[in-house]
Amino acid sequence: MKLTELFRQGKFVVTSENGPPKGTDVAEMLENAEAMRGRVDAVNITDQQSSVMRLGSLAACSLLKQRGIEPIFQVTCRDRNRIALQSDLLSAAVLGIENVLCLTGDYVGLGDHPDAKPVFDLDSVSLLETVRRLQNGHDLANEELKGKPSFCAGAVVAPEADPVEPQIIKMEKKVKAGAQFFQTQAVYDPRAFESFMGQVKHLNVPVMVGIVLLRSAAMARFMNRNVAGIRVPDALIEEMDKAEDRTKKGVEIAARLIREMKGMCQGVHIMAIGTEKLVPAIVDEAGL
């Protein structure tokens, strides 16, 4: 089912994320997805996250779909030109995939194949525009399609980027290009999120706040140093530092953040990064 349908029904939408394996053994990925069955509305399948070569998002989405778990097909512009991207979107449509998340993608130099040729023929904005044109029955060369796809197309934004203005300007462009919902980069400061939501109110588009499960104080410090758009407040780092059971603490903080921000947005996107089995606990504790 398209996420747009759920937003329309006024549901607080819950999604999570799953990374395909490096290789053909999909047992663990499916187990993780299974753990989230019925607990989240849809599961994002990442597309060679952090530019690390893995099993493709399209194949993994199809596996989930066959098992009745709603996938969100993440598509990045890093590895494919407009011919391959359009073709993969058509492929996704015939495989029954209804939700796509359009991303630019990390630079190739950050991953495990730094010698690869970076593509970026399109970017997140022009990819959204591409989806729109395909849905209207034409490709980017303006050739007519025999049968057209229909997607719910989403995009991402980083509410705690500094400065945030260029991100908001780009978000506006994404809406113009057809974005129907947004997932955010991880947010740890509800006040900052509230101010961001105030600034994008005019866009009238559903926003799902991003939650990254904290696993340790060291992880929080690492993200503060190295990950764009993420700011974990000192108070939370300290909480993690002092916790006896860090897993429990991480879940508790994630659930608390969701409870605090639930009223400000239309959904939550939970990123557990390898510990997907904890997602149901977060959902329970957040009272979703």
């Binding site: 407009r82 630019t104 990390d106 630079y107 130099g109 950050l110 970076p118 970026f120 023929d121 399109l122 970017d123 997140s124 904005v125 022009s126 525009e129 591409t130 980017l140 991402v156 934004v157 980083a158 980027a161 500094d162 400065p163 203005e165 260029p166 991100q167 300007i169 780009k170 506006e172 462009k173 113009k176 290009a177 980069q185 190295n226 990950v227 764009a228 758009g229």
Partner: protein, 225 residues
């Protein structure tokens, strides 16, 4: 030699839409040889702009617009005319346009598309500034080229990877090009440009000019003279 072509007049007038007066800046180097920004073309441009109802506050043709220091120096005698204009129209390759934009605290509009650097990178050393994309977008980006300044050559805005104004890739070595663009436009009070810029789905075919343009530095002199 850097080979350029003039943009269609329609496109140039579109850029100048909100401006009543303009200063014209040409280049006596490659742009003169390409017949896109020498004294003759600047004169012609002045006529066309005046016919379109614009006031031309002045003009000059400098040697090597692609050298930022030359541009600064060369514009000193014209400071009054530049100050009197709403904007500056630059008739040169992408490097020259960027050197002008970096030297003038005014909106700078590109009048040309750069087709090939013909083996040269311009005289403004220190960085690669133009990738000969054949469809110059400097109008929308504060005179900073996103193809060379952004690691991914993104055309529709900053990606989510920038941190503290640095690029996600090699942050100790690379500024985020889109952060520079944002800062420049903010300073000029022209951020609206980022919102107004049409969604760019680049025609990369325009980066493949006929081979003779790529290979013959004296192409323009040989063919067009």
């Amino acid at each position: 030699m850097l080979i350029s072509e003039q943009k269609p007049m329609e496109e140039i007038l579109g850029y100048l839409n909100g401006d009543r007066s303009v200063f014209l800046l040409g280049c006596d180097g490659c742009a003169q040889a390409s017949h896109t920004g020498g004294p003759e073309e600047v004169r012609e441009m002045q006529g066309r702009l005046e016919a379109a109802g614009k006031t031309v506050t002045g003009s000059t043709v400098l040697d090597f617009l692609c050298e930022r220091a030359q541009v600064k120096l060369g514009l000193v005698p014209f400071a009054g005319q530049v100050a009197a204009a709403d904007s500056v129209l630059v008739m040169s390759c992408g490097v020259g346009i960027q050197a002008a934009a970096a030297s003038i605290d005014k909106p700078v509009h590109p009048a040309c598309n750069t087709l090939s650097l013909g083996g040269s990178r311009g005289e403004w050393q220190g960085s690669e500034r133009c990738m000969e994309c054949g469809d110059c977008v400097l109008e929308w980006t504060g005179g900073i080229c996103p193809l060379t300044a952004c690691t991914k050559s993104l055309l529709n805005g900053q990606c989510g990877g920038a941190k503290n104004g640095k690029c996600e890739f090699q942050p100790d070595l690379r500024d985020c090009g889109w952060h520079l663009i944002y800062e420049r436009l903010r300073k000029l009070n022209r951020l609206q440009l980022l919102r107004d810029a049409p969604i760019n789905i680049k025609q990369y075919s325009r980066m493949q000019p006929p081979k003779e343009i790529r290979n013959t530095p004296r192409w323009s002199l040989d063919v067009r003279a």
